[in-house]
């Protein structure tokens, strides 16, 4: 069981890293190609701008999901620092619930936006990408963020007495 869990996690880690790197790396290449072709070849790649925006939207959200595991989305612990340890544990649970409620809500609603875009068949202006694909990407990123938050809570990334991430 433990082996399966560890295997699944490392598989998820790799998939997540692959997604973020591919999306963010492609932005560099797309925009740079856009400059090259416009300036040197007097030809403008029409779809690079729109595609880069979509890649950014999704790449950043997957990056945000990844940061949930390491507790990088920090709070401001000025007040809770002064709490006794027992009370600190309580606020940690509270923080965990808040995160899961909000991210869960985002995932749930993005499922709705995906279904609606699927039904209407809306496409993007230049690349003609189906909008449901973008919304599905958001849905998956929020689902991943939910899983990563649970993981983060388990490994103690949101511990108040733990000074700074990594």
């Amino acid at each position: 069981m433990k082996y399966v869990a560890a295997k699944a996690t490392s598989w998820l880690d790799r998939l997540e890293k692959f997604t973020v790197v591919t999306f963010c790396g492609s932005i560099v290449i797309l925009i740079f190609m856009g400059v090259l072709s416009r300036y040197f070849f007097h030809y403008s790649i029409a779809w690079s701008e729109e595609l880069a925006r979509f890649l950014f939207l999704l790449g950043a959200l997957f990056g945000a999901a990844s940061a949930c595991k390491t507790g990088q989305h920090g709070g401001i612990p000025l007040l809770v620092d002064k709490f006794p340890p027992a009370l600190q544990r309580v606020t940690e649970v509270f923080v965990g619930i808040c995160m899961l409620v909000f991210i869960g809500y985002l995932a749930w609603q993005s499922y709705g936006t995906t279904m609606r875009a699927l039904a209407s068949g809306q496409t993007s202006m230049t690349t003609g990408i189906s909008i449901w694909v973008i919304n599905l990407g958001m849905f998956l990123a929020f689902c991943l963020a939910f899983v990563r938050t649970v993981q983060g809570l388990i490994i103690g990334a949101y511990r108040i007495d733990k000074p700074i991430v990594e």
């Binding site: 403008s44 029409a46 779809w47 925006r53 039904a119 068949g121 809306q122 496409t123 202006m125």
Partner: protein, 309 residues
Amino acid sequence: DTIRLSTTVSDSSNWVKAANKFKELVEARSEGEHKVEVYANGTLVSGNDRVELEMAQAGAVDIIMKSTPWLSQLNPDFIVVSMPWIFPDTDAAMAVMDGPVGDKLSAKLESQGIRALAWGSGSFFQLYTNPGPIETVDDIAGVKIRTPGLELYLNSWSSIGSVPVAMSFAEVFSALQAGAIDGGISPIPLIYSSRFYEVSKNISMVNFSFEAIGMLASNVFWARLSDDDKALVAQAAKDAMIHQREVAASEETELARVMEASGVSIHTPSEEALAGFKAKVAPVYAEFKEKVGAELVSEVEAQVKALSH
């Protein structure tokens, strides 16, 4: 009931004047029972046109105002309105939108969660450039012009001989100023309100492509209304968009004068010169006539022809 109306154009636009007219009419005619809140500048939709369309379908906003190129994201048939030089003037374009073709297009939206209440005039696209004046089609050869990222526009302008650039609208002003692009295409009201005329000193009135503006209601909002209210809102939308057409027409000459006063030279190409543009764009026209559907395009062409007699 509170009705939220969204548009991504700026406060000074004639679209917003129509929206305010709509507000005035609905509030007066319903004797204050309905309130209309107008949100310009895209404040309700994060300034994003794609999202605005989605929010209207979802009922997250009640009424939006959208131009036909954007509506082609929902149904490709709307491209017919944008076909290069398909309309000789605004009156012909509005007559087509008010007629059977307009009804047919409107009907297509309903299965996608949106109802077209009325159509207005988004004016013709004109050419603004820094080199210039652009008198004949030869003058535009190799000139980098920004067009909205619609395939029809991009293909047309590369066929005409320029280098069409699909660039984010937010960067156009700076790009014009630094010379990363030499110009672009936009309706006169937008050239004015986006202040492109401060950094681009030639406008050529080529009347390239028309866009209509729809005042569109979300089906979710529509279902909330009683039959009487539906009639009231629909009529107010029609009256508001009639008002918009009048404002747009008078504004066009007025804004041209303002821009000329600030040093912009506005040039209207001769019929022969325009024929040169049209000849170059003919293959693209034929290609898109097939893509959009020859039947629909022919129907528009026939109606335009009938109108001019």
